[in-house]
Symmetry: C2
């Protein structure tokens, strides 16, 4: 057996941020487009787009500055507030996996011998 | 926003123990029957039964000593090994919620002011 965990932030409307959602935002930031980020994460464009809008709705924070048209058909980049959220979430979860593995070893160590 | 988490143990076959599954085992232990435990957790009897058998299959550990027949149509009680697993899981997760709330306050504190 091995320990697993999932960590997320909720508003009254539902999930706002999770590891997956943060990866999506980071992929948009790196690639400059929702479509490229969706490809990178292996989800349909529509799903990625919906998730971003859902996060915006649930957090009340604008996450994307979209650039319509232009060469390549426009792009998307994170707002300052979105980058701040991503950074805070990464800080929130940093090292938590080690904490949980340590707890697992202490609680189940003798059971695994 | 508020932080949420989920914690579970997996074997190669899938989830073995989770907070919900441990509650199910505890409810069986307290009530002495799968049916009463299922009622307590608000799930169909069949689903509770399946989960227990799934846990047994995935962990390779016998969890229930079933008593067939007798007054009340038989019952179920946890094996010593099942009680040990429940106890270890409770130790594994004890205080983790506070750890995560503290991490949330540190990472998102200024964002909430």
């Amino acid at each position: 057996m091995k320990p697993r965990f999932n960590l997320w932030l909720e508003s009254d409307d539902g999930v706002v941020l999770s590891a997956w959602r943060v990866r999506l935002l980071e992929a948009i930031d790196e690639s400059g487009s929702i479509r490229a980020a969706a490809d990178q994460l292996g989800v349909p464009y529509r799903r990625a787009w919906q998730k971003v809008h859902e996060m915006e709705g649930r957090s009340g924070i604008r996450l994307l500055e979209t650039e319509v048209g232009g060469e390549g058909g426009g792009g998307a980049r994170l707002t300052k507030e979105a980058r701040d959220l991503v950074r805070r979430f990464r800080r929130f979860e940093a090292g938590l996996e080690e904490v949980i593995l340590d707890r697992y070893d202490k609680a189940f160590g003798a059971a695994n011998e």
